[in-house]
């Protein structure tokens, strides 16, 4: 940026996009190639918008914040789930392959319905604080919290529901109702939160089966691709131990009661 006068030489990029629109099945799924000139600081957000404005106005994709914080633009970038908005073309070769995230309902081209999936997961896992009292007196001082605990919760609360972990998950390919790393991370988050009164028995009801924590085959694609570097590996392993323990305890209790 300091070399104000030097004329840059830019690469020619070929961006291959997997295209399909379920509402017009007469047009089969296909790869389409778009050629554009690279620019300084070009991201896939800039590149895809340029393609849409100059080459093909019908191309569908999703961006909202274009700053890597809203989780709208998860897609397969050269086969690997990632956030397109903050992927710089200079970090990729001149041939770039883009495809929609698998496992989610396809809307069109690179646009998938992560919102519907995430709402379903949230309803199933009840991803909200289950407080002891329904209404707090808002005039009173807030309940105190250990600053370190607040920070631990924040660490897990950073999930942006982009769906990359689902796109990278082996189990989801076999079990369509698997809650995935995003779901398990949320349970870990609420389990940590002293404001939520649910117990491990309650959580066992939600994730103590093969669509929950026991469905994970520990391939850990989720951990490798998470754009927020959430500690998914340790959280899932920890939850599995806790849920296993809970399962054993309640089985033992049932045995004694017989």
């Amino acid at each position: 940026m300091t070399e104000a006068t030097q004329a840059p030489v830019h690469r020619q990029l070929t961006i291959n996009v997997l295209r399909y629109e379920p509402r017009t099945p007469e047009r089969p799924a296909r790869m389409e190639a778009f050629r554009i000139e690279e620019a300084d600081g070009m991201t896939l957000y800039i590149a895809l918008n340029e393609i849409r404005e100059t080459l093909d106005p019908s191309l569908n994709f999703d961006f909202v914040c274009r700053a890597g914080i809203c989780g709208s633009c998860g897609m397969l970038i050269n086969g690997r789930p990632g956030l397109a908005c903050r992927t710089l073309t200079k970090d990729l070769g001149p041939n770039i392959n883009l495809a929609p995230l698998p496992a989610f309902e396809l809307i069109s081209d690179l646009s998938v319905n992560t919102g519907k999936w995430m709402r379903g997961m949230s309803e199933r896992l009840q991803t909200w604080i289950h407080a002891r009292q329904q209404e707090v007196d808002l005039c009173r001082l807030e309940e105190r919290m250990d600053p370190a605990v607040a920070e631990q919760i924040y660490e897990l609360d950073r999930c942006i529901e982009c769906g990359c972990c689902i796109g990278a998950c082996g189990t989801v390919q076999m079990r369509k109702d698997f809650v995935g790393a995003v779901g398990l991370n949320k349970i870990a988050r609420f389990r940590l939160d002293p404001r939520d009164h649910r117990t491990d028995e309650d959580y066992f009801e939600l994730i103590g089966d093969d669509d929950g924590v026991f469905g994970c085959m520990a391939l850990l694609g989720c951990h490798d691709v998470c754009p927020k570097q959430l500690p998914l590996q340790t959280q899932i392993a920890f939850l599995r131990r806790k849920m296993l323990l809970n399962g054993l305890n309640s089985a033992a209790k049932k045995g004694r009661n017989k």
């Binding site: 940026m1 710089l88 995430m118 808002l138 005039c139 600053p147």
Partner: protein, 664 residues
Amino acid sequence: MRIDYTDVLVIGGGLAGLRAAIAAKRRGHDAVILSLVPPKRSHSAAAAGGMQASLANVIEASGDNEDVHFADTVRGGDWGADQEVVRMFVDTAPKAARELAAWGVPWTRVQQGNRETVINGKKVVISESKEAHGLIAQRNFGGTSKWRCAYVSDSTGHAMIYAVSDQTIAANIPVRERAEAIALIHDGGHCFGAVVRDLISGELYAYVAKATVIATGGAGRLYRVTTNAVICDGTGAALALETGQAALGNMEAIQFHPTGLFPSGILITEGCRGDGGLLRDADGHRFMPDYEPEKKELASRDVVSRDMLDHVKKGKGVKTRLGDHLWLDITLLGRAHIERNLRDVHEICRYFLDIDPAKDLIPVMPAQHYTMGGVRTNFKGESQGLRGLFAVGEASCWDIHGFNRLGGNSVAETVVAGMIVGEFIADFCDRVDSDITITTSLVHEFLGREQARIDRLADGGGSEDASRLQQRMQEVMTEKVGVFRDGRTLAAAVDELQRLLVRSRNIGLRNRSRGANPELATAYRTQKMLKVALCVAAGALARTESRGAHHREDFPRRDDAKWLNRTLATWPNEADISPTLKYEPLDVMRMELPPGWRGYGAKDFIPNPGSARRSAEIEAIKQKLAGADRFTMQAALMSYEQLLPARLRGRNERIVLPSEGASP
């Protein structure tokens, strides 16, 4: 075509819309939310540095309360705000922060004891009290006299929208995602919902409701360089405008954030400067104290942005092929602080620029950031032009921000307005005369009209390219309706925007599909955006003074004699090419804080003749009540508590430090 019914139709799934829906639902009314995107992806998630609420827990906040927050906000807005509404807002903000705490927001908490921090470029050690340990912490922000920003690292909005969105799921409030309202349905006096387009199938349907709420956020995408998300295109404001009945208030009041990342405009939070970061020029010189000896980097955003551009004009910017920029220096905060409290800044620098802000300077320039104006409402959040139409959050001009918003006041407004206006919406729905009285044939008329518009775009053989028109509009707005404005340039902007608007009536499509067709959406949005852009530019041209973020180089002084008022823009006829402007006076005799110097920025202004009279009146009241507590005093100056919904009244508790004694 289909007609659906509900009690409350909320257009927009950001924080303000969600919170309003929760309020209505809790009072027994059905609510439905329309959202362009899944609510958790709303632009609310981009609020970074924090939420203003006078909780006064940290030591640098001691002495803070509603009165201080009120004065900071009114001064920040350069006396353009509605002071009664500001009072309602500052009273409710601590309650909102506490509600969010109960809903699971992992607010950063106070750690008692000594800690090192940076104030005015120097490392200092401050000591937090044991009384505050574990309560919500505050950080410093621009234009405030106390540390007042409650925060979650630098992803405050993210944490807030996740908690509130999860509450809407818990309350079983349906969200129609990827649904866009394209016209309001009304009978000329009462709004009854909207015509909605499903962005996946392209289908049009009507949602008929008792109350309709515009919660669509700001209009940043009128500009080329903006921090705003791509969905913040101002078309929500256009919905109100196109009724010909509802007015938009103060659209010329546009905020430019000092630290947009150069050149993309991605937001670098004010928390950087709040936590001690400095602005530097090409020579590495810290220039802000030269311009603003009082508040330096932490003057209000309008002031800092102007100073930065003035400094660049003097040749002190860093020159690049893409233009000039300045530097934001947060290296002095240290790696540990940055990786913990400015984590997204760290990530953004790494991914977009491949730099490490713990050792490298960040290239920044002012970028469009906030729309102070919006759908003009009364204190209940209801439009004065159309019954049953409400607006909340950035889309509204409820008017707590006046002509410049303080950092952290917007995300606070979203939830506070959602709480307050949500109660008023529920009151409205409770009334028998709020029943849905619109005829089905009129609803079908609206549906038919919108379908015809879309058919005309797709099949009308128009020759104009929507995205070209939109890009040109964004250029005009960025170059001619920016930080510095003058009459000649604004007139040129209005002229060109009018020509673009006329051309936009002849848009044609290359892809004529009615379904998930981005070109079609760009087409009808561009037509709407141009109308909103004209409200901004025409309002700016007409306002021959400088107030807050609206700065006229040909009229550099604030003029309280002529311009102590609010611009109201309407669009009476579809065929018009310019808004109709009217003005709503602000009554200085009812102000708790009459106009004066803000405490930073320009010291020179043209006074309102009533100002001195009101100041004398206030002085007399204060003398008469000498010794009374601050609540009695405040009530005598400008009572507001009766305006608040009953369930939101009550004094906010704060910790009492041993040194302070028992006074509240």
